[in-house]
């Protein structure tokens, strides 16, 4: 778990995010659209959704995308994880730029395998010069990874683990009905 708090260095990005949010509210013909996200912009949410699917990929059991990990993170950033919001607003564009620098293509054009490789590079801190501060890539990846695991394995009440997908995968009956599903 991380300790301490980081100060956002790229406040301009947050300003643009607010502007984007305002545009969403006063969209076409001044009809008030419902924004789906509390902390993320649409683009950020898409990116995090992709990342969650790489952290916990689908196989015979659904992965991070189905579980709604992005919903979990978005909800927490507007709650107990407010202190990490700046790290996301700052780290996600850097991650996008890392994809461009390594593959000369935007993140969403990369294959699953390339995305996984890119995250592995972040995890190791093996990233191109000039995009990240010292140690920042590793720190950001660790944060992402931990939050994805929490969203996938934590209880659904926090926005993730849709349909108890991770409990089902582990073979845990939910809700636990004492005496009925114990094999003592």
């Amino acid at each position: 778990m991380r300790s301490g708090e980081k100060i956002a260095r790229r406040t301009f990005f947050r300003v643009s995010a607010v502007a984007a949010a305002a545009a969403g509210v006063f969209g076409s013909g001044c009809l008030v659209e419902r924004r789906r996200w509390r902390a993320f912009s649409e683009a950020e949410a898409r990116l995090v959704d992709d990342i969650s699917e790489r952290i916990i990929p689908s196989d015979s059991d659904p992965g991070g995308r189905f579980a709604g990990v992005v919903d979990f993170i978005d909800r927490q950033l507007d709650g107990p994880y407010e202190r990490y919001a700046a790290s996301y607003h700052d780290g996600l564009p850097r991650l996008a730029r890392t994809a461009e620098a390594v593959h000369s293509a935007p993140w969403e054009k990369l294959s699953d395998w390339q995305q996984t490789e890119l995250l592995a590079r972040l995890e190791k801190g093996d990233v191109p010069e000039g995009i990240w501060e010292q140690g920042q890539a590793r720190e950001f990846f660790a944060l992402l990874c931990e939050h994805c695991l929490q969203g996938y394995y934590g209880p659904p009440r926090h926005g993730g683990n849709r349909d108890y997908v991770s409990y089902r995968m582990l073979g845990l009956d939910y809700p636990q009905i004492v005496g009925r599903n114990q094999r003592a």
């Binding site: 778990m1 991380r2 300790s3 301490g4 708090e5 790489r54 952290i55 916990i56 990929p57 196989d59 059991d61 992965g63 927490q76 709650g79 107990p80 994880y81 996984t116 995250l119 995890e123 990874c145 931990e146 994805c148 695991l149 929490q150 394995y153 934590g154 209880p155 009440r157 926090h158 991770s166 409990y167 995968m169 582990l170 073979g171 845990l172 009956d173 636990q176 004492v178 005496g179 599903n181 114990q182 094999r183 003592a184």
Partner: protein
Amino acid sequence: MALPRVNAIVVGAGAAGGVVAKELATAGLSVVLLERGRWQSFQDHDHDELTSQRTSVLGSAFGPDDRRWRRVVRQGERWVQVLPSESAYQNNAACVGGGTFSYGAMAWRFMPQDFRLRTLYGDIPGSTLADWPISYDDLEPYYEKVEWEIGVSGSDEGNPFAPPRKRERPMPPKPYTAEGRLLYAAGLRLGLHPFPIPMLRNTVPYAGRQACVSCRYCVGFACEVGAKCGTHNTVIPVALASGNCELRTGCVAARVVTDQRGRATGVEYFDPEDRSQFQAADLVVLSASATETPRLMLNSKCKLFPAGLGNRNDWVGRNLQGHAYCGAYGLFERELYDDVGPGACISSMDFNHGNPGHIGGGILVNEFIRLPYLFTGIRPPGAARWGLEHKQFQRDWYKRSMGVKSAVQELPTFESRVEVDPEVKDYWGLPVARISGARHPRDRETGDFMTRQAERWLLEAGAIRTWRSLPGLGVSGGQHQAGTCRMGADPATSVVNQYGQVHDIDNLFVVDGSTQVNNGGFNPVLTIMAVAYRSAEYIARQWNGTRFRS
């Protein structure tokens, strides 16, 4: 606004404070019990793993909150501010019942040896190891009191190392789970003496509350059916029913006030509306935990006590101990998971003492049920933290793994300590606790030895793969925080006497884990409660003599 004077103020309604409040109130003293947290119920948090005491990432279910509380912790070369929901904070709890509302509830008596470590092991360089001023025999009747008044289940059958007792526990142990049965047979084959873990948990209806229903969620959670026995559902209700105790929740003690003669006159605190209040009393008992009690004493400095209360010799906040937790995990071919909580059920005291070349040792126990998120952190060295490999491990081994852990006795060191931070203040403007120091290097050697015993036990039980986890060398403390206001006969090397009376303030008492000279190789709560009964008896007896009016 002056509040009507009372006989005693007890700060903290946890393991010790609940006991003291009950003992004093039933002895006829008027008591105000101050608690910073609130009454809680199971429904407040349900079975939410992400706010449970073990993995409180989204906030500490049982308090305190991230908004108003901070601590500063030494990490490497830096002082880092941490929140209660972060593990480095070493949060215990802030609610009525304190840690006993959500604990794992292991109910160990320390062994006679644990009170005489210095005599047994001699002078250890770099450690302030000392004997207790009291013996096991002095404490034995109070252990019995805890077992019957709070409620303990267990049996010493098959355990030749069990400390002597005059009376059986009131409740039998639960049967072993699938893990327990496997370990029991393996333990016997190895020549160990496995036996059921004693627990502060009803196994039969007891004291008006029902028996445990063996749910999956126990350690770190409130009990859904009230079968876990804490101070919130035993002694505190008795204290309130006596008519002599007023429990004030949401109240944060700021400092103990002393007069020109150096006696405690009462406690200043912030009420739930953040108004400063002063409660006058004939005597004050601090039961706020081994971190918050020394903080309160250091924050109470005044002209007469410029270094803080009881701190004439710089011993307040020293000797912070927890346990050098370590153990081993094993993977098995067949499924072990039977969904029977709490999970931890079997133990061995074969290695608490008498380990050649080691000082002390620790209890061996099988692990509580690992919940899904917690299990993501249980991996052999080098395993993937994420991706398909992570998912496969989680799926393949969740029900086919088991842990055996040890709470290794730590050697107390003078530099392992709680201070108050010179700059950082909490929401009420009070200097926060600051924690620093490191474990003694010998703890790691003992830990290494214990992990090998744990691993051996798992292998004998049929583990196809095992790995060991050694204790860290970093800051001590944690859930089992203790030792920061040591009891002793000599005021030069201790803070309180054997009854928790502060050496130079005769109407100020410390009654909680702070006063323990060492922390044993066991979860300490039964000892904290037993010492609380003994201290409270002394206070009530003194009260009937002098009324603490000099």
